[in-house]
Every structure is written in structure tokens, then in C-alpha cells.
């Protein structure tokens, strides 16, 4: 009798978070966060690095337990202490880094952990039928017997989404889903998200790309320094307003730079080829020249030889043919090792900072000397001085706005953007002559992107030769003075940045050779 009639109340939100707080040591990652996600909507969450988006979603998915606060799923309070409990509550998550077994087929990956008995056969047959139904319902076309390792990144992501749906997810969390996708793949993903919404599913989209937020979401929540600072309807806001809310001040979305003043050639590469362990020639006869005071951007779809080019120049792999000249001197094989090249002034910001650029189990201060641990400034003789290392990190973190500026904190606990700033600070402060930069802003959001871009431009203006590899064509076009397009391990064309246009570059990246 005391309960109001059902029809009188609005339908309960799919997810309601009330007063969620989470602290990691000295870091307050989430502070009294409240969030309502309406059922059957696409809800975006944006925020700077370390704003606490990922922590919040990890709490929702049961990876972490909140220190305080309440989670309600469709109006019922739930305790979610492990991912299994989140799945049981109808929550599915697609991680930025896929959780797939590459050697298994699509259908085997989908049933993984939900085989439904000791015998695989029944489960697989059921999964096959269910996959066919899901494919039809949402237009998720995929070959159930394809081996996941052979699929493109976009299709692998589709498998992740199917996995969540197969487990009965009504609420889907996507963490930076487009970070690894090409623009057409991203558009397909958005179509899929709209189809899911049309079928009554709820989608939570975490991203740093405001264009995507504007494009696909119904409502947006903005986080800053662990707190929710705004909840708005997407239709009633603009990218500039959102960016301002995220950063807490006005931001420049465009890169401003003066015309370049190129100096002498610093790095000259002639006829560089590389044959990898599978006898595949991933670099074919690459020649390019890098001058002091210019940024040369490599445009290309991921996996077309850019990574190998960077690694060969950084001394991580030995090219099978070709000559590299540094300041006019030919570098022989013995000199092409990372330690020697660093001493010459060739620094490298690797594409995959977590796997190659950092030891995430180390403290931030220890990572700030990675590659420079032989520097006598860090301690006497064979010893390292903790005081010197920490003082160095403190200064570097202040200069590069690393948050939190705590040198003793484990590096894994920093957000992606702040990890990138640690790498950036380490390589840039050493006054490089040549800087190799791979994916400088992958998984990094607006405030930090602006910061990183400004730093790179400042370096170029100071006379550093920069080779930039990025899968974000927009970034390559905004930063570079000259753009080289790569396809299939070859350089397919060069454009001056002022005259380059996206369509033309797109053709070069696709391997359509230049009209003579």
C-alpha cells in the first residue's frame, strides 16, 4: 500500500552511482561521484588523464571496490565485488586492450568462461545459434569460425562486444573503443552502438575524443580531478564547452605554429629495408632526410612499416639493408644500439609506452631515469642515490605537470596521459638532436594532448629534428612540416603540410601511387 504504483514513477536509471569514493594511497581517484545513466541511452564520460574515469568504471565492473558509496543497477542496490558479479548484474565491458585468445576461433572466444558444462560441444552449438541471432539483430556480421588472431582490430573489437552480449549484458561499457580503430572502423562501431541503443541496450562510452561524444552520445558527464563537474545533454553543448569543463580553463583545440626554419640535414636514411622473423619484408627501400628544426610526419594505417622504421632508427632492430647517417657520419651496426644512440642525441618516445617505454612495476622516479641510469648525476660510481633520483623526478614532474607529482608512486597507478608525460619529460629534457616520436597522444586526452603538442612544436622551434609516427591523421597534419605516407613498408609519397589534404593523403596511405 505504501509503494507508489509502478506507472507513476519514471523508469529507474540503468545505472545509478551514489557518492562513490575511492582512494589509492595519497591519491583520491574518485571523490563522492554521482552518476545516472538512463536506460536505453548512450552516455559519454569524458575527462582529462587521471580524472578518474577508468577508476569509476573499474569500480562499476568489480575490478576495484569503492571505499564508500552505492551502486544501483536498474533501481536495485548491488554489491559488485568481482567482474563475475558485474556480469551477473547485466554489465559488460569492452576493454581498451582486448581480452581475447588470439589462437582460438570467434565462437570459442565467445563461450570462453561461459562454456555451460564440461563438454564443449553443446556450448559451442548454443553459442553458434546465439551468435547468428545476435548478428542478425544488430547487424554484427562475423564469421564464427575465423581465428581471432587473423581478424582486423575492428573485428576483434566486435568479438569483444559479442562476448559481452552473449553473457546477457544490457549495459555495455566501452573504454576508449576507438583508440585502435581506423576512421571507417570507428564509424562502423558508432552505427553498431546506435543499433544496440535502438534495441534497448544502455551504452557507457569513455573517450577523450570530443568529436565522438558529439556524434554518438545522448548525454555527457564530465569528470575533473576525481569529481563529476558537469552532466549535460549532448544536444545542448559544444566541444569547446566540454573541453573547458574538463580542463577547468579555456583550451586551444588547434595547434598554432610559426613557419619552419629548417637547418642542416641531421638524419639521412637511404635504402633502408628490414626482414622480420617471419621472413616478411616490412620495410622496403625507405629513404628520407630529416633536417634540424622540422617535424616530418609519417601518415599510414597501423602496421604498414612505421613501427619498424622507428625501431630500426632507435637501434632496437637491425635493418637488413640500407644506410643511416647521423650528422653526415654513417652509423655502423655497433653504434646502432639504443644506449649509444642516446649518447649521440637520438632520443625515442616509443609507440607502446607501457610495454616498451616504462617498467610499470617501478616507481615513477625510477622510470624517469630509464635509459639514463648510467648518468653520473644519479649517484656515485656503481651506486644510485635515491635522493638524487627523487629530486630529479620531482623537478621533471613539476615541469611537465605530471599528476600526481609523487615520485614514489608506482608507475602503473598513473593514468595513460601522465605515464606518457613521464616518458616525454625523460626524453625531451636530455636536449635531443633527433627525436623519434611514436603515437605521442594515443589514449591521452585533451588537456594533455595540447600540452604534448605544444612541447613538440617548441622543440622543433629550438632546432630539434623530429620524426613523428601517428595513426591519427589529424595529428600528423596538425604537427608536421612535411608528411610522408607509408603503405606496405614503402614510402608512397610526400606532401608539404600546407598543401596536403586528407583525401589525397588517404589515397597515398592506401598505396595508390602518385599520378606522375
Amino acid at each position: 500500500m505504501t509503494e507508489p504504483p509502478r506507472s507513476a514513477v519514471k523508469p529507474a536509471p540503468a545505472i545509478e552511482l551514489i557518492g562513490i569514493s575511492k582512494r589509492f594511497g595519497p591519491v583520491q581517484a574518485n571523490k563522492d561521484v554521482a552518476l545516472k545513466v538512463a536506460a536505453g541511452s548512450i552516455h559519454g564520460i569524458v575527462g582529462e588523464n587521471g580524472a578518474g574515469k577508468s577508476t569509476l568504471m573499474s569500480i562499476l565492473y568489480g575490478f576495484y571496490e569503492a571505499d564508500s558509496g552505492e551502486i544501483r543497477v536498474s533501481g536495485t542496490a548491488r554489491k559488485i565485488r568481482a567482474p563475475g558479479e558485474a556480469i551477473a548484474a547485466g554489465i559488460g565491458m569492452v576493454h581498451q586492450h582486448f581480452m581475447l585468445v588470439e589462437t582460438l576461433s570467434v565462437v570459442e572466444n565467445v563461450v570462453l568462461g561461459a562454456e555451460g558444462g564440461a563438454w564443449l560441444k553443446g556450448g559451442l552449438a548454443r553459442a553458434r545459434a546465439e551468435l547468428a541471432r545476435l548478428s542478425q539483430e544488430y547487424g554484427l556480421v562475423i564469421d564464427p569460425d575465423a581465428i581471432v588472431g587473423d581478424l582486423s582490430v575492428g573485428l576483434q573489437q566486435r568479438v569483444e562486444i559479442l562476448k559481452a552480449l552473449y553473457r546477457g549484458a544490457d549495459i555495455l561499457i566501452l573504454d576508449e573503443p576507438t583508440a585502435v580503430l581506423t576512421p571507417p572502423e570507428a564509424n562502423q562501431l558508432f552505427c553498431l552502438l546506435r543499433a544496440l541503443k535502438a534495441q534497448g541496450k544502455t551504452v557507457i562510452l569513455i573517450t577523450h575524443k570530443l568529436r565522438e561524444i558529439m556524434n554518438v552520445t545522448d548525454r555527457v558527464s564530465v569528470m575533473r580531478r576525481g569529481e563529476m563537474v558537469a552532466h549535460v545533454k549532448t544536444a545542448e553543448t559544444s566541444p569547446a564547452t566540454l573541453a573547458e569543463a574538463m580542463v577547468g580553463r579555456r583550451v586551444l583545440l588547434r595547434v598554432e605554429k610559426a613557419p619552419r626554419q629548417p637547418g642542416p640535414a641531421v638524419l639521412e636514411i637511404a635504402g633502408l629495408s628490414y626482414v622480420d622473423g617471419r621472413d616478411c619484408e616490412t620495410l622496403k627501400d625507405v629513404s628520407l632526410t630529416l633536417h634540424a628544426g622540422e617535424i616530418v610526419g609519417i601518415a599510414g594505417v597501423a602496421g604498414n612499416g612505421q613501427s619498424e622504421l622507428l625501431e630500426a632508427l632507435a637501434g632496437l632492430i637491425q635493418p637488413s639493408r640500407g644506410v643511416i647517417r647521423f650528422n653526415g657520419q654513417i652509423l655502423n651496426a655497433a653504434e646502432r644500439n639504443p644506449a649509444r644512440l642516446r649518447k649521440l642525441g637520438l632520443m625515442h618516445i616509443p609507440e607502446d609506452r607501457q610495454k616498451a617505454g616504462l617498467v610499470t612495476a617501478f616507481s615513477a622516479a625510477e622510470n624517469a631515469i630509464l635509459g639514463y641510469h648510467d648518468d653520473p648525476a644519479f649517484g656515485p660510481g656503481p651506486f644510485l642515490s635515491h635522493a638524487a633520483i627523487e629530486a630529479h623526478a620531482r623537478a621533471a614532474f613539476a615541469a611537465y605537470d605530471v599528476r600526481p607529482p609523487d615520485p614514489a608512486l608506482k608507475t602503473a597507478k598513473f593514468s595513460g596521459g601522465n605515464q606518457q608525460k613521464i616518458v616525454l619529460a625523460r626524453e625531451i629534457e636530455r636536449a635531443p638532436k633527433v627525436l623519434l616520436v611514436g603515437q605521442p597522444t594515443r589514449g591521452v586526452d585533451i588537456g594533455a594532448i595540447e600540452f604534448i603538442h605544444r612541447r613538440l612544436i617548441a622543440l622543433r622551434d629550438a632546432g630539434v629534428a623530429i620524426l613523428l609516427v601517428s595513426v591519427e591523421l589529424e595529428e600528423v597534419m596538425a604537427l608536421s612540416d612535411r608528411i610522408l605516407a607509408m603503405c606496405g613498408g614503402r614510402i608512397t609519397g610526400e606532401r608539404a603540410a600546407e598543401t596536403a589534404d586528407e583525401r589525397d593523403l588517404g589515397l597515398l596511405m592506401a598505396g595508390v601511387s602518385e599520378a606522375a
Binding site: 571496490e65 567482474p83 632496437l316 649509444r340 617501478f362 630509464l370 649517484g379 644510485l384
Partner: protein
């Protein structure tokens, strides 16, 4: 991704988790003791009194501790480089041969030269025998877990051959070398402390114990305060980042295995130079394997290794006394108790991390 990594405060990770593990192990061991009809309380009292209740007991305990410190450190250093060196037995065996040869061949030298040279010989022998598997892994990709355990057999057989055919004591029925000269051995602790007015009973405890304490400090400085230690930890935690940083993982693997082997050689210093004063067959007596448990329990940190070594020292000495006083609790029973502790402290570590983590949450929620 079945479970999120459990992050604990440092004090809980380093102190509480091992303590809870040991408590659980003692509980299970107590049940076993009840099972054979003895009182666990009485057994515990006897064990502790035997290990710590007298100067003699303490001396024996510290003698065992010396062995465990060396073998525990050996495993710990390799751990930091991401290597699982289970060849401590073999490395100590080779070190023992080197020590014996040094003590026998260099006998004309005065003690002040001979003793340090023999200790260096032990370190060199262990280092060489650790280096070879490291080299095989670095250049050929042969996994050290496989090679080190096979090298244990090679070392054991080699020492039989040498003791029987080459350097054995003529006319002896036992496989042993002649006894070393008086000036070639390490000073027993009761002689060392006598001038200070401390009267200790004669026990195997000798100055190698001081060497073990020095090794704890040296390994701490190496791992956490030196450039080489930094490189070792980088290779252990992320070989790709090491290559990026210009650190050669292959070189570090060989260096770390050599250091690990040299530390295992400390076992030979204590046993051969300090206690037996001659080379005996199988003097390693499984200490090398227990070192794995010591390193696991000590979290690879020298302070932890020291404490875990002391715990095993107490168990060994107290266990010996216990089986002497209570014939129904045989030596094998004591081995069972040790095994249970290894199981809980090493293999079931994750179990208690979860318990401790939820306990801490409960505590902080109140």
C-alpha cells in the same frame, strides 16, 4: 582476468601476509601433531625451547640460518632478473669442490691469505656454475629452470667422481677429502667470542655467519642501490623496456645467474670451511632447495630473506631437538611441518593476500 591484482600496503605485503601464512601452516602442523596423539602446545614449546632456549640451541639455529641466508639470497637475486634458479644445490656443490681444492693446494699460504682466497674460490666456482645455464638461456634460449636442475645432477655426479677417484682421502672408506690444515678453516664462533669474555658452547656456528650477514647488506645495496641492480630489476620486470633503455637482457641474465651462483657458494663456505673442514659427499643436504622457499617467503628482499632464514633455522634446530625428546615425532614429521610452511608461504601466497586485503578493508571501514 579472473581477479584484479590485489594491492596491499607495503607493511601488509611484507609483514602481515607471511605472518598469516606461517600461522596457518603452524595450525595445520598442529593438527598433524594431534593426529599422532601428541599435544601441539607441548611440541611447540619443545621446538622453541630447543631452538632458542639455550646458548647452544641459539648457536645451532644460527648455523642453519647461515646456510639458508646464502641459498635464499641466491634464489632472490635471480628472481629480480626474472629467473628461477633452482640450481643452488649444484652451484654449492661445485663451490665446495673449489673450496676444497683451494684449501688443499694453497695450504702453504698463511691463513690471512688462504681464507679469503678460498672464499673467493667458492664464489668463483658457484658463479661459474650459475653462469653456464645463464649463458645457455641468453644465447640458446634454454630455460634455466630445466638447465639448473639438470646441472644439479651433473654437479653431484662430478663430485662423486672427484671424491672417489681424484681428491679422495687415501685409504678412507668414506668419500671425503683429507682434513684441511688448521689455518685453512673458519674460526668457530665460540673461539671468536672467547676473547670478549663470552663463553659459548662448541657448536658448528662459525664466522661464516658474519659473512652471511654481510651478504644480506651487500645484496640489498646491489639490488636497490646500484646501477647494476637497477638493470637487473628492469630486465626482470620488463625485458622489452630494458632493450629500449639500452640494457642488454642477455648480458644481465648471465651476470645475475653468476651472482646467484656465487651466493649459493656461501653454503660451501659455511659447511666445508666452517663445519666439516673437508669436502664430504652431499654436504648440500637440500639447503639449496629450501633456499627457494626462503626467497619466496622473504619476498626476494634481503630483510625478508634474513627473517625467513631465521625461521627455517629455528625449525631445523628445534625440530631436531623435538624428535630427540619425543620419539613419536620423528625427523620426518619435522620435514612435513617444514613442507607445510613452504606450501603455505610459497605456493598458497595468493590465498592469504585476499584474506588480508578484505581484513584490512573491514578494519578501515570501521
Amino acid at each position: 582476468m579472473s581477479a584484479a591484482p590485489i594491492d596491499l600496503p607495503r607493511w601488509a605485503n611484507a609483514g602481515l601476509v607471511p605472518l598469516v601464512s606461517v600461522a596457518a601452516a603452524l595450525l595445520v602442523a598442529g593438527l598433524v601433531v594431534i593426529g599422532i596423539g601428541e599435544s601441539p602446545l607441548e611440541a611447540t614449546t619443545l621446538l622453541l625451547r630447543g631452538a632458542l632456549g639455550s646458548a647452544e640451541g641459539v648457536s645451532f639455529t644460527l648455523y642453519y640460518t647461515t646456510n639458508f641466508i646464502f641459498t635464499g639470497l641466491a634464489v632472490a637475486v635471480a628472481f629480480h632478473a626474472g629467473l628461477f634458479n633452482i640450481g643452488g644445490e649444484g652451484q654449492a656443490t661445485i663451490a665446495g669442490i673449489f673450496v676444497a681444492l683451494a684449501c688443499l693446494w694453497l695450504a702453504p699460504l698463511p691463513g690471512i691469505l688462504l681464507v679469503p682466497l678460498a672464499i673467493l674460490a667458492a664464489a668463483a666456482g658457484g658463479a661459474l656454475y650459475g653462469f653456464i645455464p645463464g649463458w645457455l638461456q641468453a644465447t640458446r634460449g634454454s630455460h634455466v629452470v630445466i638447465t639448473t636442475i639438470m646441472f644439479n645432477f651433473i654437479a653431484a655426479t662430478l663430485s662423486v667422481y672427484l671424491l672417489v677417484e681424484v681428491i679422495g682421502k687415501p685409504g678412507s672408506m668414506q668419500a671425503e677429502t683429507p682434513e684441511f690444515a688448521r689455518h685453512a678453516i673458519l674460526t668457530p664462533m665460540h673461539e671468536l667470542l672467547a676473547p670478549l669474555g663470552l663463553k659459548l658452547p662448541a657448536t658448528p656456528l662459525n664466522s661464516a655467519f658474519l659473512l652471511a650477514l654481510a651478504a644480506l647488506v651487500a645484496v640489498w645495496a646491489l639490488i636497490y642501490r646500484s646501477r647494476l641492480g637497477y638493470a637487473i630489476r628492469t630486465v626482470g620486470a620488463n625485458p622489452r623496456a630494458a632493450a629500449y633503455a639500452g640494457i642488454s637482457p642477455a648480458r644481465i641474465i648471465m651476470v645475475a645467474m653468476a651472482i646467484s651462483g656465487a651466493l649459493a657458494g656461501g653454503l660451501a663456505v659455511n659447511e666445508v670451511m666452517g663445519v666439516q673442514h673437508r669436502l664430504l659427499l652431499d654436504f648440500t643436504a637440500g639447503y639449496g632447495f629450501v633456499g627457494i622457499a626462503v626467497a619466496l617467503m622473504g619476498r626476494g628482499h634481503p630483510v625478508g630473506v634474513g627473517l625467513a632464514a631465521l625461521l627455517f633455522g629455528v625449525l631445523y634446530q628445534g625440530g631436531a631437538e623435538l624428535s630427540f625428546d619425543k620419539p613419536s615425532i620423528t625427523r620426518d614429521m619435522v620435514v612435513v611441518i617444514g613442507g607445510v610452511i613452504i606450501l603455505f608461504a610459497g605456493a598458497l601466497d595468493g590465498l592469504f593476500r585476499r584474506v588480508v586485503a578484505s581484513g584490512l578493508r573491514f578494519g578501515s571501514a570501521r
